[in-house]
Symmetry: C2
Subunit: 119 residues, 2 copies
DNA sequence: CGGTATCCTTTCGGATACTG
DNA sequence: CAGTATCCGAAAGGATACCG
């Protein structure tokens, strides 16, 4: 295994706390663009600082994009996945399946039509 | 999203540095049981402390099992994946595919018949 | 060989207050 | 609303030495 092993590289970027949860929130439902506060209130325990950091990292890595409407107050800032970000869905999906299959940490979210996840 | 969301729970366990790389080493090749030193020398930068910690965590989580032959010196300690651990392959596989597709961190390991990965 | 023990540095991340 | 700034404690991780 070398330093440029994809597993090594991906995990260094995506393995930090909240990262994958933020992405998961952006996959949900049919709504493409989501606001900062929408994301924040959906993830229990997530502080504003952490959300800001993760959003910046993900934008830098090219997994999401941000658009800001500053024409009037309050400012409207929205986030959406890029193609690269959408593609990561497969990893999250397998993660979810595995977690459910093995009841990791008593995972009990139903896989289909989950009201909480909308996944 | 609740605390028992599978994605949340899985990432808290598997998102730490080296964890997934250790698992990846155990998937490789046809050899079922692998020794501590075998794993260690394959992962660049991994220290003995970190390997010990991760192996213990993974055993506790039921992803791998350990067998020790202390009948003679030096002691022989070997590790192998459980069914649960093997199952996690799907997540790692998707991670690898994604990393390669998007050249994350200049990932350049060929997907099939990779000499380094044996994956 | 297969780990521990120790020490030390870095990073993470929670809380809270504040601002355009 | 959408963030920053600051502070601080906790946790993670690296280096290295040592041991049965």
């Amino acid at each position: 295994m070398k330093k440029n092993c994809p597993i090594y590289q991906v995990m260094r970027r995506m393995g930090r706390r909240w990262t994958i949860l933020v992405l998961a929130e952006l996959y949900k439902g049919r709504k493409k663009w989501k606001r900062y506060s929408e994301i924040k209130k959906k993830i229990p325990g997530l502080t504003p600082k952490m959300l800001s950091m993760r959003l910046k990292e993900l934008e830098k890595e090219g997994l999401l994009k941000n658009r800001v409407d500053a024409k009037k107050f309050p400012v409207k800032s929205e986030y959406s996945l890029t193609k690269k970000g959408e593609d990561f869905f497969r990893v999250i999906d397998e993660t979810k399946k595995w977690g459910l299959k093995w009841k990791v940490g008593n995972s009990d979210c139903p896989y289909v039509d989950c009201k909480e996840c909308e996944f």
